[in-house]
Symmetry: C2
Subunit: 338 residues, 2 copies
């Protein structure tokens, strides 16, 4: 900047004014300074600027798995809100790695970002509370958070309930839940929601097929197990804890010559793009991913703007069931006695 000042024959202060409050500078000198900037290829040093007092104009979203479309969709919502507020968004991928997440949090705090959105590896990580306590606004996304910060989640109980209610309404009575491990809170909640639906209906039976992970391969394995059962005991419908499982399950059914939905109806969860693209489009529980991200970012911005009088909020969104061919289109068969 010194060079620019010298080149344009003005003082440092004037260059700064051209950059930050151009209305204070006369047309003539402003042009001259801008020309010098262009000629010298000057690029403002953000560190110095920030050191002197400017904020960082930057948000970060520490995402659990950048490979998972769920999070990238959430990120789109975040991006939108950040754009609207004139802030840049950095995506940080923890990749489910506690250590990397910690490294990112440290770095972001040191960089004094305006705020951090995070889907934490471990919802109870004390670092997150500590970060918030030291003054960086934090919003937890898609995980329940203590009262120490804002959070934005989707109601998994309701999701499980919706899915199974739909299956019960379609006449199914032997229903399998496919998903796991139960150590994942969301899996637990979806099971609980499913059980709630069965209990409320007063009919039907839910069997849990626990899987080791939530991926396509595990869905295929579950498919083998289901197909291996004698028809009389075999469930007529499966509710999968996510769409990857559901796709794997669907694939295995096709491979084994069973028909979907006639032999097995399938409900997935997340409504990823490929749920609709499947050979038999998947019924799935859709989460308002975009709104989730947007709302999370808005909460964050609100907190960043008024750090004091800020009430932490726990926003819970309701999921929606998207019915497609994998559960048939009307009742599958007239319901047996209720």
């Amino acid at each position: 900047m010194k060079d620019v000042a010298a080149h344009a024959r003005v003082s440092l202060g004037t260059v700064s004014n051209v950059l930050n409050r151009p209305e204070l500078v006369s047309e003539r000198t402003r042009k001259r300074v801008l020309a010098s900037i262009a000629e010298l290829g000057f690029v403002r040093n953000e560190s110095a600027r920030q050191l002197r007092g400017g904020g960082s104009r930057t948000l970060a979203y520490v995402v659990l798995d950048a490979t998972n479309p769920f999070f990238t969709d959430v990120a789109r919502g975040v991006q939108e809100a950040a754009d609207a507020a004139g802030l840049a968004l950095f995506l940080c991928n923890s990749g489910e790695d506690r250590e990397r997440q910690a490294a990112y949090l440290d770095l972001l705090e040191q960089q004094r970002v305006e705020g951090v959105l995070i889907t934490p590896v471990d919802a109870a990580d004390p670092r997150i509370g500590a970060l918030a306590a030291r003054g960086t606004p934090v919003v937890v996304v898609d995980r329940a958070a203590g009262p120490g910060h804002c959070s934005v989640t989707v109601d998994d109980l309701l999701g499980g309930d919706l899915a199974v209610t739909h299956l019960l309404d379609s006449g199914h009575r032997r229903i399998a839940f496919v998903g796991g491990p139960r150590t994942i809170g969301q899996v637990r909640d979806r099971i609980t929601g499913a059980e709630r639906a069965v209990a409320r209906a007063g009919t039907g039976e839910l069997t849990v097929l626990e899987t080791a992970r939530l991926d396509v391969a595990q869905g295929r394995r579950a498919g083998e197990r289901i197909a291996g059962l004698p028809a009389a005991r075999r469930p007529t419908a499966a509710f999968c804890a996510n769409d990857l499982l559901a796709l794997g399950l669907l694939q295995q059914m096709v491979r084994l010559g069973l028909r979907v939905p006639e032999d097995l109806a399938i409900v997935g969860y997340d409504d990823i793009e490929f749920a609709e693209a499947a050979a038999v489009p998947l019924t799935s529980v859709a989460q308002p991913r975009h709104r989730l991200g947007r709302t999370a970012a808005e909460l964050l911005l609100a907190e960043a703007r008024s750090p004091d009088g800020h009430e932490h909020q726990q926003v819970v969104f309701a999921p929606e069931l998207v019915v497609r061919a994998s559960t048939g289109l009307g009742p599958l068969r007239s319901s047996t006695v209720a």
Copy 2:
């Protein structure tokens, strides 16, 4: 830091030493200082550190579409290399938006990141060259770049050639290429590669079904068009410019009661996770995404380490064909006269 120094009754310099060269400080004082740091919740100000001379220890990957699994896989490779080098990686999503990309590039340059990886909205964007010219190492990912910087790409001609050669080898003679628009360089290359394969074989015929985009819906539409042709003129195989098209095409075939691969063999491109998860697992041209990212990051790091004696390299990877059920498993029928 001043507060920490006062609290621990040492000088500023000592606190800095504890942080940066702990071996210079006696055990006793080091402990005392660390205790003060913990007690006061001190967090180093990265801006000041960087201003004084430390590098930013940060890379950024400006990605074209964070929603696209291709890029997130590339990002994983980048992440790996960055981790190995002890650098943090920020993901920036331009979302195909020229303006946002420009904003990110400005910001990153102002933040003096160690280097920028980018899959640009427009391969010929002069800003990228300008950035490199001003001294920020830049590597272009998945797009050809001029001699001004390094780039890492995959050979799309070869990819198209592989796909169509495979179909020809399987006995197909009427082959459709599904994809578009042709304004996309990669689409053009894949077509050219496909044509090359046909020309080399000296038999077979390639029809281009141009699509408006590379998504599932367009794949479905292409499916309708193909299914609508009289069987005698209908292609027996389709090579899709990406897996989304292929999935849409597959779905439409299933919906219309045509069988894959018996009535139509399908080859996709990209080998996304869901290619294998499809009801009929998709044959697809796999790009070494992970290695792409890793290599790109390594080139970047090499350039960052020795800005002077750096030869810009254009690395081209070869794609590989992954054969699955969507093209059958052996020759479909004995080949007619060559």
